[in-house]
């Protein structure tokens, strides 16, 4: 009756895998038995992640790549025989009040959080559907979204625009890829203890204000999000597609 999170014989690709959530997801998927392909812009970060995966008796391959460089990413995909899982994680944020958002920041964030997310998802899907047993073994794509893909927040207008967009993309992809038995979902975390959030939380006033919005009274751990991703990657969720797993301690329930 109870299905377990088991990713043996699966190959998973994780973008933005050098730090934070991507790193946690890559390690969690490896812990669940997947062979993991980790992508980041920084070789030294990849080395550290590979080392941890090796220590936990997992297996990984790493590639340095900026996900906004479609051609470079295509070259990497050509080196991979098979792909079953994508964790479309690479993303960033530059909080600014709407009236003050610099054009270059809006373009940088949108190129990364939307265009690259779309391109990577499309390229990986094309790779996944080519595998002749796909319908039988299934596939899973998880976009790293955010609670800000569900609700607005001050200073987060571009990020809101990007993440609401990712929510739409996930639903559209789910409808189109269902016939290949490829499921597409998002994970929507609240603030997580990552290097990116630690930077924002240096502002204590901001930190306290944000914590007040989380009914459980604490930020999420990287393992909370990585476990949710592993649940969606595995057959534990084989009938879950086109939806979001909200990991927000109750933020969006209010």
């Amino acid at each position: 009756m109870l299905k377990k999170i088991n990713l043996k014989n699966k190959i998973a690709l994780v973008t933005g895998a050098g730090k934070g959530l991507g790193k946690a997801c890559a390690i969690a998927l490896a812990e669940a038995g997947a062979r993991v392909i980790i992508i980041s812009r920084t070789q030294s970060d990849l080395n550290k992640v590979s080392k941890i995966i090796k220590k936990t008796k997992g297996s990984s391959r790493s590639f340095v790549c900026d996900v906004t460089d479609v051609n470079a990413f295509k070259v990497i995909l050509n080196k991979i025989k098979k792909l079953d899982i994508l964790v479309n994680n690479a993303g960033n944020n530059r909080p600014e009040h709407f009236t003050k958002v610099k054009r270059e920041n809006m373009e940088y964030l949108t190129n990364l959080n939307m265009k690259a997310v779309f391109n990577i998802a499309q390229l990986c899907s094309q790779k996944m559907v080519k595998f002749k047993n796909r319908k039988k073994i299934g596939g899973s794509i998880i976009h790293m979204s955010s609670q800000l893909g569900k609700v607005g927040c001050e200073g987060r207008n571009v990020y809101n625009m990007n993440k609401f967009g990712v929510e739409g993309l996930a639903r559209g992809m789910a409808c189109e890829l269902a016939k290949y038995n490829i499921r597409v979902n998002t994970v929507c975390p609240t603030f997580v203890e990552t290097p990116m959030v630690k930077k924002f939380f240096k502002n204590k006033k901001f930190k306290n204000k944000m914590l007040k919005n989380i009914p459980l009274g604490r930020v999420a751990k990287e393992s909370d999000v990585a476990t949710a991703v592993a649940f969606l990657a595995a057959d534990t969720s084989e009938m879950i597609t086109g939806t979001s797993l909200v990991v927000d301690g109750g933020w969006t329930a209010q």
């Binding site: 299905k3 390690i27 996930a170 797993l245």
Partner: protein
Amino acid sequence: MGLFLKDIDLKGKTALVTGATKGLGRGTAIAIAQAGGNIIAVGRNQLELNSLEKIIKKLKVKYKSINCDVNDYNKIKRFISNLKSLDILVNNAGTNIPEPFLNVKKSSMETILNVNTKAVFNVAQLCANQIIKLKKKNGSIINISSIFGIVAGQKRTVYSMTKFGVEGLTKGMAIDLAKYNIRVNSVCPNIVLTPRTKKYFADKTYNKYVKENTPLNKVVTVSDVATSVVFLASEASSMITGTSLIIDGGWTAK
């Protein structure tokens, strides 16, 4: 417990499951026991409670049951408020009498509302109070909702009214119970193949309607739902509260 992958484990936890004799409730009770949790089964059929006991005890966990209608407030209250151990509630008992809106009988409407709304509220309140009284460090309540808590369907006006209500209740409870570290979520399955729905699926038109509306083109199984419930019951989802896990093969993504 891995580095970033949390175990889905209910060892030492006790879960009360309503409507435990058949279908989703029975499957969920078995899945919880497989994850190591003790079971308190509430149902109206003594023979089925007994046959469930045999299955649960084989899994080497404790089993306790009460033959009780969830509408019988005084009896269920006496039972719950005397429990020595309680961490998890699977608020599952529910019913449906599909009728077109114009022809919904007053008696049908009242039957559905009594079970799906009033009893769901009462059992949730009684269990939450008991979990708090027992001074548990954490708790988890899972309300069994439906895709018809998110969208409408043919001949489902009363059912949708009650399940949309459960979605609201889930969010409200999550906010009020967060300070006790009791998480509250719902699962929203598509139409699951159970003893109750078997008669719907016997109708060819209905069968076609379900499959055509489910992009993954499969029927949700009891195991799919039970696995999600166990995930939400366990500390693997310790930052997930006030949300819904939709298990619908893409039905509501369209």
